[in-house]
């Protein structure tokens, strides 16, 4: 369970002070899929950064599994992130010059997973995104959709409990984007992991269990409803891969 209690984030000081988040509170149950929706500059990315411990909130409480990450030391937050969380970004951030295998290996190396245990994890993560045959290929030789799939493999390789996705389909065409969405939701359901998607795409947001609408650093509305979207495309993933 993720509890966000009265979180504020202020950038700058005194006259130049800018309030990016002004007292945000909500709760996310384990295994839920959540969309944080808002226009650019609304504070939705800041919210994601604060929740993941990448950025420090100015005040408030962020409890993940009961632990308030704002009172943890930076070292602990880093360790927490490497073991429990993962990220997917709009511009993928795969390392073009590294092989797919080594791109996926990075989180395991950071989490200090022993060498022997890595291979199996990496290969099953690559298999989950249908990229096992590209294991030795350099990431720069991949297409945009393949790169984002590689980023997903990298994100899920260490079995995170929380998966953050920042505009995961923003740089992709709609067909490719759908595959990525499918992969994210399937991980969310299969591993009972919490999926937090930051987006301004309402269609993607509707596919999530919870929608948190952010406006000017405040919560506008929170909608909780069982979506219908995951049933929208019943074709197996392998069949859809052809379209990539």
């Amino acid at each position: 369970m993720i509890e966000v209690k009265n979180v504020t984030k202020v950038y700058g000081k005194k006259a130049q002070a800018f309030t990016a988040l002004g007292g945000v509170s909500f709760t996310i149950p384990d295994g839920a899929s959540v969309a944080i929706v808002g226009k650019s500059g609304s504070g939705k990315s800041t919210l994601m950064h604060v929740m993941s411990g990448l950025d420090r909130a100015t005040s408030g409480e962020i409890r993940i599994g009961g632990e308030n990450i704002l009172t943890l030391k930076q070292k602990k937050v880093d360790a927490f992130r490497s073991e429990q969380m993962s990220f997917i970004f709009q511009s993928f951030f795969v390392q073009g010059n590294e092989s797919c295998y080594n791109n996926v290996a990075l989180p395991l190396e950071i989490a200090q997973v022993p060498r022997r245990a890595r291979r199996e994890k990496i290969e099953s993560a690559l298999a989950a995104v249908q990229l096992l045959d590209k294991k030795r290929a350099k990431a720069k030789d991949l297409s945009g959709g393949q790169r984002q799939r590689l980023a997903i493999a990298r994100a899920i390789v260490n079995d995170p409990k929380i998966l953050f996705a920042d505009e995961p389909t923003g740089n992709l065409d709609s067909t490719t984007g759908e595959v990525i969405e499918q992969l994210l939701f399937s991980y969310n359901k299969r591993r009972k992991a919490t999926l937090i998607v930051v987006t301004h795409d309402h269609d993607l947001a509707q596919k999530c269990d919870i929608q948190i609408y952010i406006k000017d650093g405040h919560i506008d509305t929170i909608e909780r409803h069982k979506e219908k979207a995951t049933t929208a495309d019943k074709r197996p993933l392998s069949a859809r891969r052809i379209m990539l």
């Binding site: 950064h49 490497s82 951030f93 590294e98």
Partner: protein, 451 residues
């Protein structure tokens, strides 16, 4: 992130920027090359000097002069105190050792023998069966250093050759156009001319009255002496022995006899420019040297001589190493520059690693290891180049400097070179410290906003 994983990632990152890595390393390689060569040259020079001294000077001997050899006044020809014992040697006026001095030296405890340096100048030398007259230096055979022979035999170490025997260098046989073995057993004749003392006016008148012009002529005539010696051996040419190729060797007894005869009646009689004191095996050379110095002499041991040469070698080596260090300092800025650019280029990579939970310290380490790799590559390139070129050039250097067969100027010591590479890695890590700190402090959110 484990150290080994960071090292592997660092190596891969460098491999992906091959050109830049190589160019940066080459700057270090220049410094590494210079230092490796200077280390090798210093080692070679020291070994050569050591060989040279060992084959020319008996470690049990002390070289004694009346006054310090390196006296500034003696060298520059400034105003000097007059002494009736002073004599001219090599254009430098220096105070000579007297027979009394030699006697004094003999009384010092621990002194086994005192060998004055006899100066014997010959008018000419002739060889049996050869008309041509030649000029040659004559030196006392040194029984403490065993030379190799081309023909004939030498006495055992420590034993003098016979009074009527001589040893000639191989180069003489070459000049004469004979095989060394043909010369052994033949006679060499030294012809000496006594300068004599100038007759006084009274003596001249007396001679005139006694025997007329003939008697005066006889009085003024220079006395000559022919000294026939049997060639006992022909010494082989040696690259490390100073005297082996330059003079006829005779026994000390003969040398004393000839020296006395030559200087008899002159102010040079029983005056020696230097003497070699042989210290008894049981006595300590340094102690004897100190007691010789206490008596007012100047004394130098084989160790002192090698010490002097080593000091010179060290100074020269220091200068060359200094240039290498300058090149390294320049390359340090190269590393800093390259790594700064690398940090800027890989901002998003750094951001991603931080987002995935890599602590700033780990990121800093990654960049420092990359710098260390650059240092290692540069060091290895420089050392290998120095080794390759040095090994290839050694025979040529040996020939040009006539160091002699089996001697090399550039001697590479493996542990020195390994230490050099490790040192360069440390230098590179220090250079990489600033960029790595920048990477470690990079704000992940800022970093991930790029692109």
């Amino acid at each position: 992130m484990k150290r080994v994983d960071i090292m592997r990632r660092a190596a891969r990152n460098l491999r992906q920027a091959k050109g830049r890595t190589l160019l940066t390393s080459l700057a270090i390689a220049v410094g590494a090359f210079t230092i490796a060569v200077s280390l090798a040259a210093g080692e070679g020079a020291r070994q050569y000097a050591d060989k040279l001294i060992k084959s020319n000077v008996d470690p049990q001997s002390v070289f004694v002069t009346r006054e310090p050899m390196n006296d500034a006044a003696a060298m520059t020809g400034g105003l000097r105190k007059y002494s009736e014992n002073s004599g001219d040697y090599g254009g430098v006026s220096m105070e000579m050792l007297t027979a009394d001095d030699v006697a004094t030296l003999k009384t010092i405890p621990g002194v086994d023998q005192v060998r004055p340096t006899y100066l014997i100048s010959t008018q000419f030398v002739t060889f049996e069966g050869i008309e041509q007259r030649y000029t040659s230096d004559v030196t006392v055979y040194d029984p403490t250093v065993l030379a190799t022979v081309a023909a004939g035999t030498l006495p055992a170490l420590g034993e003098q050759i016979g009074a009527d025997e001589a040893v000639i260098p191989e180069s003489y046989a070459n000049t004469l156009g004979k095989k060394p073995s043909e010369l052994v057993g033949t006679t060499i004749t030294l012809t000496l001319v006594k300068a004599g003392k100038v007759p006084t006016e009274a003596e001249t008148q007396e001679a005139m009255l006694r025997g007329g012009v003939e008697a005066v002529k006889a009085l003024y005539a220079q006395e000559t002496r022919e000294v026939p010696l049997t060639i006992r051996a022909v010494s082989a040419q040696s690259s490390t022995s100073f005297s082996a190729s330059t003079a006829v060797f005779i026994s000390d007894v003969k040398a004393e006899d000839l020296s006395n005869w030559l200087t008899e009646g002159t102010d040079q009689y029983q005056r020696y420019i230097s003497a070699t004191v042989i210290v008894a095996k049981s006595a300590d050379v340094t102690e004897v040297k100190d007691s010789i110095k206490d008596k007012g002499f100047s004394a130098m041991t084989a160790q002192d001589i090698s010490g002097m040469i080593f000091t010179m070698v060290n100074v020269l080596q220091g200068i060359v190493t200094g240039f290498g260090v300058l090149a390294l300092i320049a390359s340090v800025f190269g590393i800093i520059n390259t790594q700064y650019i690398s940090v800027l280029e890989r901002t998003s990579q750094i951001g991603l690693m931080k987002a995935l939970g890599m602590p700033g310290k780990g990121v800093g380490k990654l960049f420092r290891y990359e710098a260390a790799w650059i240092g290692c590559i540069g060091g290895v390139i420089g050392v290998l180049l120095a080794f390759g070129i040095g090994t290839a050039m050694n025979p040529w250097i040996t020939e040009v400097l006539t160091l002699g067969e089996g001697n090399s100027l550039l001697i590479f010591v493996w542990w020195q070179n390994i230490a050099l590479v490790i040192g360069l890695m440390l230098v590179a890590i220090v250079a990489g410290w600033f960029p790595s700190r920048k990477a470690a402090k990079l704000d992940p959110i800022e970093a991930l906003r790029t692109e």
